[in-house]
Symmetry: C2
Subunit: 361 residues, 2 copies
């Protein structure tokens, strides 16, 4: 694979869009401009990313009517009030239906900006320029946007697809080590769900990824987006297939909830959650113990946790899982593994085995 | 036509939905229940409608987990804060993704409740039970939802289609006379846009409609919904065809803006706006003067205004029209008439004729 590549996410209905992946592509106008319906662009970013990459993005927006909203950094600001502030800015600037909202930042910025775009004048164009590995491999594909509510994460939001994604792996140079590792948890997840070749490639290339070799990063982002796009294209609104993307997430969300959000990064919680899902799969005889060992070894190589923190005892975990919004109408479903690259959504799991696993039996 | 009928709005992708139209159908569980994905229903209504029709609706929801949000009456409350209150209520009640939001009321209630449904957990089921003529013939078809912003009407919102619409013309018994007439303006609009037979039928049946004869009301609602549904099905996101539905609205919105919202009802402003559109069409030689006379006569028979109020002088009207969000990227487009039942969207109108017409030449 060369140091740049383009995928097309197939959604049909004239909504197909490209993901451009490369190093140093942030300012390339020709990648971006064909996807802007008008001349007005509202860049939504945060106070950490703005000084790092706003100037690098500028050439791509030259000659347009450009405004910025610079948010404070952090998930604490992923609220309806923040989105309302973006709507105020759009209206203050007299932005029309043909305006574009461009998210420059990580998943939080993308979720907020995407939701602002989804509901401004009932939907305007949205472009993602993700600057974290997690956002590049996860949040920028799938169309999920939204904000948190005091009573739950991502409770208010919309599905709104971008017109274009620019994933510049050069922006990962400034990403804190811990966030890079957390992003790799999601890359490993795609391997586990449906791509055994990706999993094997990760076993070989983890050192290169941790060293931020650009060619390796481009390949990791491209394989991740390709896998996620395939799942999302088959099931845009998360009725069936798409639930596979939640591998490790029911456990992971429970860990985050028990610890308090923000103590562990999402990717860290998902890593431990994937090991729990794999252990339960082994308990039920669905997964070879050798596969579990490979999974643990790869997560360890990525410097990720492979077990929940001590604070997440069995009772607390089960209670937190019962509140998870992915549990449809009170019925428990989990994503488990029948092999590396072969995840299944099931309600036919052994509840007793689950409780033993969590130490709540 | 019998005193009840059912239309199906064809949207494709498993999103087709029925509009049940009849008298006294509000409490019929068998019309509603097949469209609820789960057992949780949040009824959104207002303090005027609740005492009139909440009890009549109750049998349709028997045995379900039902909650209510009763809003204050009036468009002043069509705000993001009101929608946020509905989200709070949904989360306080622990409502899942399989919950349904049911709007019982007029267009304002429907717009607010629909937007709440659109963005709760990225979209839950929505049912419309419109209790005004305007909502029955207009707002309950097309999927537009949203709220106002201090800087513009309907600036924040989403497209979100209902699973089912129950239009009970018996609820129109309590509708103030003026609101009935304003609703008829939109019925007349459908005739003008694309249905000359409906226009002729209205010329014959206006006295029956004003007397609230149920059979006539069912027929008017059904013909209106059928026309709107046909336009919307062809063009769900308002790129082309759907703009025809704005006949009289660019002028009408300008009248509302100049007078201040709420002085004239929306339908009244649209009535005067349709006459302006017809007059401009005559000026340009597109419409026979005899057709203009029929239009004015029918609107007068419905007790609707056929000219803007004196306060709406030409300069103010033009300025207000320039701000209209239907003007794409600064380019003026208007919906004009080439005959009764034959509206066209055009930017090829005579600007000087327009200014003469508005007295701003």
């Amino acid at each position: 694979m060369s140091a740049r590549t383009t995928l097309t996410v197939r959604l049909g209905g004239g909504r197909d869009y490209p993901i451009h992946i490369g190093a140093g592509i942030l300012g390339e106008a020709e990648l971006l401009r064909p996807h802007l319906p008008g001349r007005q662009v509202m860049v939504v970013t945060n106070e950490t990313v703005a000084p790092l990459y706003l100037d690098a993005l500028a050439p791509a927006l030259e000659g347009l009517e450009r405004r910025e909203v610079v948010l404070p950094d952090g998930e604490a600001h992923k609220t309806l009030a923040t989105v309302a502030g973006i709507w105020d800015a759009l209206l203050d600037a007299g932005f029309h239906r043909t305006a574009t909202v461009l998210a420059l930042g990580g998943g939080v910025v993308g979720d907020i900006a995407g939701f602002a775009a989804a509901c401004y004048q009932r939907g305007v164009a949205f472009v993602q320029v993700p600057t974290t590995l997690l956002a590049q491999v996860d949040s920028s594909v799938g169309g999920k946007t939204g904000v948190n509510h005091p009573l739950g994460k991502n409770m208010i939001g919309a599905f709104h697809q971008p017109r274009c994604v620019l994933a510049d792996v050069a922006t990962l140079d400034t990403l804190p080590e811990r966030e890079l590792r957390a992003g790799l948890a999601e890359v490993i997840k795609y391997g586990l769900i449906r791509d055994p070749d990706l999993f094997a490639w990760l076993e070989a290339r983890m050192p290169a990824l941790l060293a931020r070799e650009r060619r390796a990063l481009v390949e990791a982002v491209a394989h991740s987006c390709r896998n996620k796009a395939a799942v999302v294209a088959a099931d845009e609104r998360e009725a069936g297939q798409r639930a596979l993307l939640n591998l490790g997430h029911t456990f992971g969300h429970a860990i985050e909830r028990v610890l308090g959000y923000g103590i562990w990064l999402h990717g860290e919680a998902v890593a431990a959650g994937m090991v729990l899902a794999a252990r339960l799969s082994v308990e039920m005889g669905w997964l070879e113990p050798a596969a579990l060992e490979r999974i643990v070894a790869l997560l360890e190589a990525a410097g990720l946790p492979t077990a929940p923190p001590r604070e997440a005892d069995g009772g607390a975990m089960l209670e937190a899982m019962g509140l998870d919004k992915k549990v449809a109408d009170g019925r428990w479903r989990l994503v488990l593994l029948r092999g590396i690259g072969r995840a299944v959504v099931t309600d036919a799991f052994d509840r007793n085995a689950l409780e033993r696993l969590l130490g709540a039996g």
